[in-house]
């Protein structure tokens, strides 16, 4: 029998082996990263009824994305995600580095559904949504669905063309995590 894991230690530094990766604990999925201060910022956005809200790239930020709120992080993943779990976003800029963390979860039983969607950047019309009935602790279903959803969105220009205004959405891309065997997107929106 495996020994129980009592703790997880995730140093958020440039040489840490856990940066850029997701770590699964009992109640949380945690992602951390540490980037050079002059690298393009990872900017968090939330979709609201009347448009999209940019969360400022301030020096020290701790922001809660409430469960069900579509959100997107520029340069990190090329879609909007609406998951049932709350998400805590950390952005801390100090000297030569900007440290980031995403803490997803807290109440696993609330995590029933996860979703990927796209929004026309010109007129905010929905360009499609895929829901994943994950169930508590079922986040692997989301990650499997992520790959399929991105591939499907990118497979046909018609999927990316807004039916309302004709704007063509740039291609989607998967969450840029460490170990992802996939070329960087041409446009990391």
């Amino acid at each position: 029998m495996d020994a129980p894991i009592l703790r997880y230690l995730l140093p958020i530094g440039p040489d840490s082996p856990t940066v850029g990766r997701w770590t699964r604990t009992h109640d949380y999925d945690v992602w951390t990263d540490c980037r050079a201060a002059d690298a393009p910022p990872l900017t968090l956005w939330e979709a609201r009824e009347n448009g999209v809200l940019r969360i400022p790239d301030d020096e020290t930020v701790m922001h809660v994305v409430k469960g069900g709120t579509p959100h997107h992080v520029a340069q990190l993943f090329g879609y909007w995600r609406a998951c049932d779990s709350d998400l805590v976003w950390f952005r801390i800029a100090r000297a030569d580095f900007v440290r980031y963390a995403i803490v997803l979860g807290g109440t696993p039983e609330a995590y029933v559904n996860d979703a990927i969607l796209w929004i026309c950047p010109s007129c905010a019309t929905s360009l499609g949504r895929r829901d994943f009935a994950t169930g508590p602790h079922g986040i692997e279903k989301f990650w499997r669905g992520e790959a399929e959803s991105v591939t499907a969105f990118n497979s046909d220009r018609a999927h990316r063309t807004c039916p309302s205004c004709g704007h063509e959405h740039p291609p989607a891309y998967r969450f840029r995590r460490a170990g992802l065997d996939e070329a960087a997107p041409a446009v990391a929106w």
């Binding site: 530094g13 604990t25 807290g106």
Partner: protein, 211 residues
Amino acid sequence: MFAQIEIKDPIEKIAEDWDLLADAIMPHFSTFRAVGHNIFGLRRRLISAMAIDDPKKGNISHYVELGPRGIEEGEHQPWTLRVTTAGTPHRVLHNFGYWHINDKDELYLPIGAAERKAGYFCIVQGRPTGKETDSFAWYCEKCLTLLFDFVVETGQTGLAGFWKGEQEAVRRYNGDAMLRTCPECAHINPRGYCWNKAKDTPEEAEARLYW
């Protein structure tokens, strides 16, 4: 990318509490406060590789956990996100005088300061629901025999029940010398004390200095 659909209003007008570490917001989390799926405790602290300095309690960087191999100890480090998993008895020396055992993970992130100012010590823990509990336990400091375990169904009572239960557990444990006397090795253990120093009796304040 989103210039045409971006909400132009100042963010404070849309979400006043958008940044929990903002000077005007953080004091609301100086004890603990539930928001959505989590409970947050946020404090300004002088943070270094050597210490996390609490102005009232001193250095609170040293944590202790109880696992299958016995007691394991360590120090919180700046920029290291640490998660104590659900069910692990844990305590912080001089900070609370009992072993806390809860059904939810606890996450800690000490954030170093910009320049020579105080940094931030952030605690995030899952919000208990249903029949989930927090318990306040004491183990013999000599042989680790369980002496007393006071359980609160915080999934039903919320934080109010946690604080009420904490005080009741400490009072009961301290009020009965038999509870503090190990049935295995007969060692008489020190008193417990609450997280909030203002609740200390003189004897509990003495115990806080000790363990």
